[in-house]
Symmetry: C2
Subunit: 403 residues, 2 copies
Amino acid sequence: MRMWEGSGNQAVMMKIAVIGLGKAGLPLAGVIADSGLEVVGVDIDERKCEDINRGENPIPEERGLDELIKRHGGKDLIATTEYEDAKECEIFIIIVPLFTDENNIPDYRIIESAFRNVGRLLKRGDLVVLETSVPPRTTEERARKWMEEESGLKLGEFYLAHSPERIMTGFSISRLRGFPKIVGGVDRESGEKAFEIYKKFVPNLHLVSSARVAEFIKLMEGCYRDVNISLANELFKIANELGVDFYEARTYANHEYCHIHLPSTGVGGHCIPVYPWFLVKEMEKRDKFGYAKLLRTARQINDEMVNYWAEKIVLECMKINKPLNEVTICVRGISFREGVKELYNSRNLALAKLLSEKGLNIYVYDQFYSSEEVWEMGLRWIEPEDADLVFDSFRLTLERRNK
Amino acid sequence: MRMWEGSGNQAVMMKIAVIGLGKAGLPLAGVIADSGLEVVGVDIDERKCEDINRGENPIPEERGLDELIKRHGGKDLIATTEYEDAKECEIFIIIVPLFTDENNIPDYRIIESAFRNVGRLLKRGDLVVLETSVPPRTTEERARKWMEEESGLKLGEFYLAHSPERIMTGFSISRLRGFPKIVGGVDRESGEKAFEIYKKFVPNLHLVSSARVAEFIKLMEGCYRDVNISLANELFKIANELGVDFYEARTYANHEYCHIHLPSTGVGGHCIPVYPWFLVKEMEKRDKFGYAKLLRTARQINDEMVNYWAEKIVLECMKINKPLNEVTICVRGISFREGVKELYNSRNLALAKLLSEKGLNIYVYDQFYSSEEVWEMGLRWIEPEDADLVFDSFRLTLERRNK
């Protein structure tokens, strides 16, 4: 049963497949390889696989990843586009993206395909762990069904667990090495098995009672963040209206029992703006419309912050002695978050587009994007010093350069 | 100008009046007296004043207060019902309750009366500090007007500041001695003056730029708590619906960046359920209806928790083999919070009354209230072991004693 135990050469026998070498998967694969285990990483991006196998890190903004990829890439971390290359693995970690459509409904195609491909390789006694954050019960229902259909095995003959990634791009490796990580099985044996394996490369690991609890923990965290950012945004608007410096007030409001977040143009990225919808939609399906009122309101407040900022920008433009549509406005910072090159759900990009649709003379600037890349987004690039007005979307400052 | 400086006998000259010897004011008065300053405490309750002057603590649940009142009561802490007895004080701290009506509109009568009474005693160079948490601008507008009208002095001839109390009944003395406290003046001189005085008895003191910022800080904290309790309540309902143990999930969701609170029957007391309304109503007055959506939703979710629990209780009663209206139900715990004898805005009391109005056979039990006191609330008392079903309103447990 336990193929990796009782063997004379554990390092050879213990092989782990990581499916998905994106911003969450690659740091994980690197950390696993660095703990002395052999890793086969599977990704659809052929060029990325070649880079990794040459020891080159395709995610330079991830601190410490250069070193891991240089040390293990092409050696004990082999990247490949072929699932077949992972057939000798006994552990499969699935960490691929889950996108949602315009109605915030998850599109399971990528994750289903990953599970079905792994299912075809599955052997008796193998362990599959899902790391992608998913709506509740996905692991025990959908993932189990996909695995059983493809493998011909029944749960009990293989193990299935959930261990939500808790990374943050830029800090993923330190997160894996210090931050508490959770694992929960679809059945008791699966949880224990996953715990035993993950313990080899995650020092701060906790076993919870089920995969469902593990899924819920990750969604709770996302909801906490989204609600608290919406609270910061709401208090920021109120403070401004009252002539109170929000940042001064926040400094002294926060203490051991108070954790007021920072305001923003909204919440972007793959995680925080998406997870509340998993719970909202699930409650709607169950006719519990009143059970997710706060989550829904928080989403709305965060999404509408672009309208708030658009109005502030227009009011500031009116102080410049030019026709409104001739004032050159630079939105500085279009990534969804500072320090990353990532536009998914970017509210800064949404703000630039909103202002542009209003007929204002909008340009953007972002250290991570060239003028060509900006052009491909349907926007125009400018050096901030050449604009009449600069809105810094990370610092939330408005600077009139043309007084 | 500074009557308390340059004097040969500072202890005699430096006299502080504390207006309001309630759960917030009396611990403050005790701490000030214990720092070596003379205190005159003014309160409308004659019997309470007599107790204090005999060295007897009228708030036994306040840790450490017995000792302070024994040591200072009737000596350097004189309690009186007469403002006149405070006429030699140079510093006046106003810490009286601010109630709100059924529409959540503050009733300023008590606070106005305190200010006007102090105004009549006011001398050039005196300092007045408001500690009661109030809607934004109350100190700089209403309080200033009341003081100027009664004293005939203008701001600048006296000093006016705000320093919101941050106590928590039961822990007020340790809060005053360790917790960060904020002070802000209506003008710069007032802030500096108040800071200088408060520094003598508050070790962890911070001067902020205005009384308005100080007011806002306290409201922000209350809003943070109310919104986060409503988030905990919402996630609790969702977890239950999904068959997830909320408490297990919370244990592992919380870490350095995540602070999910505890669920409840709602939020009671004088503070947290009241402060969000100060901001909501202020935004409504200014036609900024969209600026307080989250605060309003959080209030509603917390207030509606009694309906959620009423339904749970009824569903549990249905498992008992008796006609529904004959099942004796005990609501255990009716104070607004565990460990205090205080019913203001108590949602546990509201829950008991709601169930009673539905025609259920409701009784209550609370260690702090006798059967006579319960009777006066229009409710009936029972020993929990004599009920068929016990709902513990602090632990949120339902126990069927009659299976």
